[in-house]
């Protein structure tokens, strides 16, 4: 856009000739300061102007310039700079007003004349100490009033009394009870941890998850959208996810960032309060979270409640107070029941190996089992015992099917991580045997099939056709019979026992392996059933070492 520069209309004083002269001066000044700002002073020396004007035919120009400035003080002014006179105006057509420069504080002066260094005290300043806990100082104080000594009757000559005497208050002394700190040298860490949990665990101001504590108001909160994304991620992965993965993959916080530990704690604490949507299924070191709609880990051939009921006998056998993670490793011989369903019993040995629940009411824990021999890691689930169901581990179906047979010996070792375990078997040269299987193609039946395996086995527990041939083409027992351990023992005698007249005899180890085809049964439980049978169905076989007999027709 082009704008025409308008000359400011100025009223010049004087005669017409003087006005014309002043106008020509103004024009000269404005031509010089054409591109200057409106209020910037435009200066031309009087001598220079006079020289020019006189070259244009004006006479006595210098005096007339000074006179014109004097006649128009609002428009023109004369300044003396270094002994030379300058005619001054501005582009706005006004004589420049003397701008007062505020030199009290300038940026340059600030650097050139710095303030002297503040004097520091000789002793270093004390660090700010954390606020001391507020303690009710009056608590435990004993306030005792000290009685004033009895005044003897006055025998002194009375003196002139002062006009007013202030009443004397009785002297009081305060005896404070020394606040002796609780001596904790005799208290072990376990009891101190319990005491801390007892006092801080119920305080709503304190957030706690597992072994970590923080003030509740410092724990980051998650929006409903965040919680939905966490849930969706688990459902997309179709398996429980650790808190670390959730923080990294969903909340995009990197492990090296300073907030990682805080956000990780926030995930655990906040999700633990979302009971409807999320369930904690982890351990102290490996905190898995689950949500609804995830596929079940492990076998689907049998309901988890039914398996728990099968293991109910463990509730009576496991002594109270088994300390978790007190064993380094456990060796275990697989039974047929465990092999078929991919299970391990959560018996006393396993309870001493695995870690217990981290949060109150925790139903299960997802563990990782690493098999270095097959370079495979399996996700398994430890179901904790309930008041009427035993605990067990499930999810080892693939590991068993790929590497082991019923009767194989495996070793489970703990690692530094309480959620990660190493499982190994005894590698041996491959051999083939006719081993028991459950054929489920039509009506389920037990069959013997040639099986090649390359793992160490417990000889008595290997279900070969030579020793357990009586099971061939047998149907599994119905659930009603399975629920009664005595009925299972009786049926096993009939299947695999050695028939003597009307009785069946079986060696204990063989009987134990046979019983565990149908349902889990410990050595203790089986021995108890055989020894404490009041009906007379079972009795010790006097003709063979550690053998028992069963008399059919006697209802056990």
């Amino acid at each position: 856009m082009v704008m025409q520069r308008e000359r400011p209309a100025q009223e010049l004083s004087g005669t017409k000739r003087e006005q014309a002269f002043a106008s020509s001066l103004l024009n000269l000044l404005l031509a010089r300061g054409m591109f200057m700002s409106t209020s910037a002073p435009i200066r031309i020396s009087v001598a220079s102007l006079a020289g020019y004007l006189e070259s244009q035919g004006e006479k006595d120009a210098a005096d007339r310039i000074v006179a014109a400035a004097a006649a128009n003080p609002a428009i023109l002014s004369v300044e003396q700079i270094d002994g030379e006179a300058y005619l001054v105006t501005t582009r706005g057509g006004r004589a420049p007003s003397a701008a007062t420069v505020d030199a009290r504080h300038t940026f340059a002066a600030r650097f050139l004349t710095p303030l002297p260094k503040p004097d520091r005290p000789a002793t270093p300043r004390a660090r700010p100490r954390p606020q001391e806990p507020v303690i009710d100082a009056m608590a435990g104080m004993q306030i005792a009033e000290v009685e004033a000594p009895a005044v003897e009757p006055a025998t002194i000559t009375p003196e002139p009394e002062p006009a007013e005497e202030a009443p004397v208050a009785p002297a009081r002394t305060i005896t404070t009870q020394a606040a002796a700190p609780a001596d904790m040298t005799d208290v072990d860490d376990v009891n101190l941890a319990l005491a801390i949990r007892e006092r801080l665990g119920g305080d709503p101001r304190v957030a706690n998850f597992g072994e970590h504590w923080l003030m509740e108001d410092r724990v980051p909160r998650f929006s409903r959208g965040d919680l939905r994304r966490l849930r969706d991620y688990m459902q997309e992965k179709e398996q429980p996810i650790t808190d670390e993965d959730l923080v990294q993959d969903v909340l995009a916080v990197r492990p090296g960032s300073p907030d990682f530990a805080l956000v990780r704690f926030a995930v655990n604490y906040r999700l633990s309060n979302e009971h409807r949507e999320f369930e904690f299924v982890g351990t102290g070191n490996q905190r898995f979270w689950s949500t609804s709609g995830l596929p079940q880990i492990g076998t689907t051939r049998r309901k988890l409640n039914e398996i728990g009921t099968d293991y109910r006998f463990l509730l009576d056998e496991v002594p109270a107070g088994v300390a978790p993670r007190t064993r380094e490793s456990v060796d275990h011989t697989l039974t047929f029941y465990e092999f078929a369903h991919g299970l391990l019993p959560y018996d006393a040995e396993m309870q001493a190996l695995f870690s217990g629940p981290v949060v109150p009411g925790q139903k299960s824990a997802v563990l990782t089992f690493e098999c270095p021999q097959s370079f495979t890691t399996y996700l398994v689930e430890l179901r904790f015992p309930t008041p009427n169901r035993g605990g067990f581990v499930l999810g080892l179906d693939d590991f068993y099917a790929e590497n082991l047979v019923a009767g194989a010996v495996l070793s489970i070792q703990r690692t530094e991580n309480d959620g990660h375990y190493r499982v190994e078997y005894i590698p041996e040269s491959a051999r083939s045997e006719e081993l028991l299987e459950l054929d489920e193609r039509r009506a389920p039946r037990y069959v013997f099939r040639p099986t090649t395996f390359a793992c160490g086995v417990e000889g008595d527990d290997l279900l070969t056709e030579a020793r357990f041939g009586g099971l061939a083409n047998e149907k599994p027992l119905d659930d009603k019979a399975r629920r009664r351990p005595e009925a299972v023992v009786a049926a096993t005698f009939e299947r695999i026992g050695e028939k003597r007249d009307a009785n069946f005899s079986a060696e204990f180890r063989t009987l134990l392996a046979g019983v565990n085809i149908e349902r889990p049964m410990s050595e203790t439980l089986l021995r108890s059933l055989l020894e404490n049978d009041d009906t007379g169905a079972f009795s010790r076989d006097p003709d063979a070492a550690d053998s028992y007999t069963y008399v059919p027709g006697t209802s056990p």
Binding site: A178, P181, L194, R197, L214
Partner: protein, 58 residues
């Protein structure tokens, strides 16, 4: 320590009010989660420091 243990057995030692106030103060000043073991160590330090001061005073 597992939750199971806490449920199974109660604490034989109980924290005093000053211990609880000290722990709360510790947590107020914390910007990252504090472990139970760190709280235990802090309690022991406080107990040791206080008893040491008391002995010095005597």
């Amino acid at each position: 320590m597992a939750a199971q243990d806490g449920a199974r057995e109660g604490a034989t030692h109980h924290l005093g009010e000053d211990d609880v106030a000290y722990l709360m103060n510790l947590l107020r000043n914390a910007t990252q989660p504090v472990t139970t073991q760190e709280l235990i160590d802090a309690l022991r330090r406080q107990s040791g420091g206080s008893s040491g001061e008391a002995e010095d005073g005597e």
